[in-house]
């Protein structure tokens, strides 16, 4: 197999605490691969470390441990200059279209700034490039000289995406890019993400709480719990049958837009939401797991389960899971 575009190995980010408390193990040993052109969803409990993981991959936080390789190059060992070259190839879209654009810059200058920084295109061509970018996100030329406050939330998010596309990245990291938008605009942006992927062969690392959107956009989905990945599977498989008990709880809590449907509830989740300062022993999910008793000899409490392949296909493992329960994945619902 060819080198993955992104190779994350045992990545960890711990934040020191004040006052002698234990460190916050926001991300604690995450490994996964992302192939070129692939779209990987990242979901999980609020506070489980999704944003921190994304920020560490992007080099916005220094890892406490582990490595990130982009196209075979180790990001930890790069010189400033090579960093700049790599940064061109991985871009980010944040949740908040309001906070992420400079209110004093016109759209033209927002879109050409990355080109100037990286010395791309002749000055005269940059304007044309900006127009092409606007067009790619479904905005017309009349918007070029307007300022962020003159746009609706959806339009601003499009501008944020256009800016991220300016350097023709191969990887777009999106941290909840849709949650500030209303439904009709969300649908437009979801379709835009799908289209951009088809047109430019972009790979996505896509963080979202809306699992229906993730299903629409992602080939594979990684489920995180307390700083670690507990399950990665191809979307079709995962949505047809969530494997890990946490994934099941998560999926059972999805609200369905139908008032006749049963009220969503997090099936069987016991006890308190987890705290990354106090990682439980063994499997971090065991105090809340509805099925921990099924495993003999309190193994879930004593021993952390490894992330192991459960089902293979042509691309490698179709489902990987960290759970002591019987080689399920096929377990009954």
């Amino acid at each position: 197999m060819s080198t993955p575009l992104l190779e994350v190995r045992d990545l960890a980010k711990h934040f020191p605490s004040r006052g002698g408390q234990a460190d916050v193990q926001a991300v604690d040993g995450v490994s996964f691969d992302l192939r070129a052109g692939e779209s990987l969803g990242l979901v999980g409990e609020s506070g489980c470390g999704k944003s921190t993981l994304a920020r560490t991959i992007l080099g916005l936080e220094a890892p406490s441990r582990g490595t990130v390789h982009f196209d075979g190059q180790s990001l930890g060992e790069l010189s400033r200059k090579s960093w700049k070259a790599i940064r061109r190839r991985m871009q980010v879209v944040f949740q908040d279209p309001f906070a992420s654009l400079d209110p004093r810059q016109s759209v033209l200058s927002i879109l050409t700034e990355p080109l100037v920084i990286h010395g791309l295109f002749k000055p005269r061509e940059r304007r044309l490039r900006a127009l092409a970018l606007l067009d790619a996100v479904g905005l017309g030329a009349q918007h070029l000289h307007r300022f962020p406050h003159e746009f609706s939330g959806g339009q601003r998010q499009r501008i944020g995406i256009a800016r991220a596309l300016a350097l023709e990245p191969e990887l777009l990291v999106c941290d909840e890019p849709l949650s500030a938008l209303d439904v009709s605009i969300q649908a437009q942006i979801v379709n835009l993400f799908v289209e951009l992927r088809q047109r430019f062969g972009l790979a996505y690392l896509f963080i979202a709480h809306d699992l229906a959107v993730v299903r629409k956009l992602c080939d594979r989905v990684a489920v995180m719990y307390l700083g670690r990945i507990v399950e990665i599977a191809e979307s079709e498989d995962l949505y047809a049958e969530p494997g890990h008990p946490y994934t099941r709880a998560l999926f059972s809590a999805i609200p369905v837009p139908d008032p006749r449907a049963p009220r969503p509830r997090a099936a069987g989740l016991r006890g308190e939401v987890a705290d990354p300062r106090e990682r439980p022993t063994g499997c971090a999910f065991h105090p809340r797991c509805p099925r921990a008793e099924e495993v003999p000899e309190a193994r879930c409490r004593r021993e952390g389960p490894a992330l192991l392949p459960r089902r293979m296909n042509a691309n490698g493992p179709a489902r990987t899971m960290a759970c002591h329960l019987a080689p399920a994945g096929q377990a009954e619902r």
Binding site: Q155, H209, S235, R260, A261
Partner: protein, 331 residues
């Protein structure tokens, strides 16, 4: 049932360089004790402004007309010093943006304690105990340890739960919750919505739930009010609204929600065009430029909210055109 809060013909406008922005236009709604009213609509349709009006938090520059009745008084005429007894106490709000509504320089514990000290006049010690309990109620792990955390040390979802704890601290009669669970994962969302439901049963708190998640509306609202460009498009009980929307905008919204059983390889249906600017145009329907059923009168005639059987109302001059289309199964 008795209404705890009644909004009558509310109109809010903001001066701007051109024509004033008419953020809310002739909006009427009534809220019963213990019920949850969903407020949905396009970005910029006036949801937050409506809530701010009911909390007396609109900027001075705004112009407000209409009445908001609470406890036999019109809140819009309340002097500021009396507001302090109502706001945060009898009527409270969870704000849309958790980062700007917490003070970055104070620990979250201090900020919560202040609520208890000011509104419930608890001494510091008791305020602390009450604050820890309040954080536990919204499912924050290890609430006692979190008391000393600063807002930036919490994840987005944790900050949101702190705000919810602050808003519920005084057991208000009316809560405006502005996108309270948008930043949360679905399990914590379910937990928060359960908590709100429990508080409603215990203390008959009424909730105005502002959200763009129609799944949340379906699972937790008794009634829904659909806004567009500051105007009411449709209002109905939740079940009939989802079963048979009577306004093309509502119908468009419902269609564009991604569902878990959609075909994965087809684009989502969208509502074409861009959200309207609330420019205060009085004639015609504000949704007309994006409406698939629009006809000439939609642009020129006044389109009032018309009462329909079953306690619903819709502001569409061509409800039959919509019904025809729905019948052909385009939903």
């Amino acid at each position: 049932m008795t209404a705890v809060l009644e909004v009558e013909d509310l109109a809010v406008s903001f001066p701007s360089r051109g024509k004033p922005v008419r953020a809310v236009d002739e909006l009427s709604l009534s809220l019963e004790a213990g019920e949850t009213l969903g407020l949905v609509g396009e970005s910029g349709s006036g949801k937050t402004v409506t809530a701010l009006a009911a909390l007396g938090l609109l900027p001075r520059s705004s112009r407000v007309r209409g009445r908001i009745l609470f406890d036999g008084r019109d809140l819009l005429t309340l002097p500021e010093r009396e507001w302090r007894r109502v706001r945060g106490n009898r009527i409270s709000m969870v704000f849309q943006d958790p980062m700007t509504s917490l003070n970055p320089l104070l620990t979250i514990g201090r900020q919560l304690e202040e609520v208890f000290e000011c509104h419930r006049s608890l001494p510091r010690r008791q305020a602390r105990t009450a604050s820890i309990a309040a954080l536990g109620e919204v499912g924050l792990p290890r609430p006692e340890a979190r008391m000393d955390a600063y807002p930036h040390e919490l994840s987005g979802g944790m900050r949101q739960r702190v705000l919810i704890a602050m808003a519920l601290a005084c057991r208000p009669s009316v809560l405006f919750a502005d996108e309270p669970t948008t930043a949360l994962d679905v399990t914590i969302q379910a937990q928060i919505l359960d908590l709100l439901g429990r508080m409603q049963r215990e203390s008959a708190m009424a909730v105005v739930l502002i959200t763009h998640d129609l799944g949340v509306v379906a699972s937790s609202c008794d009634r829904v009010h659909v806004l567009y460009a500051g105007r009411s498009m449709e209002t109905a009980r939740t079940d009939p609204l989802f079963a048979a929307p009577m306004h093309p905008y509502t119908s468009g919204l419902l269609r564009s929600v991604p569902r878990l059983d959609d075909p994965r390889d087809q684009p989502l249906p969208t509502i074409a065009g861009h959200p309207a600017v609330a420019d205060g145009r009085r004639e015609g329907c504000p949704f007309e430029p994006r409406c698939p059923h629009a006809a000439l009168p939609c642009r020129t005639d006044p389109i009032p909210l018309v009462a329909l059987p079953g306690g619903r109302a819709s502001a569409c001059s061509r409800p039959d055109a919509l019904r025809e289309l729905e019948a052909r199964g385009t939903r």
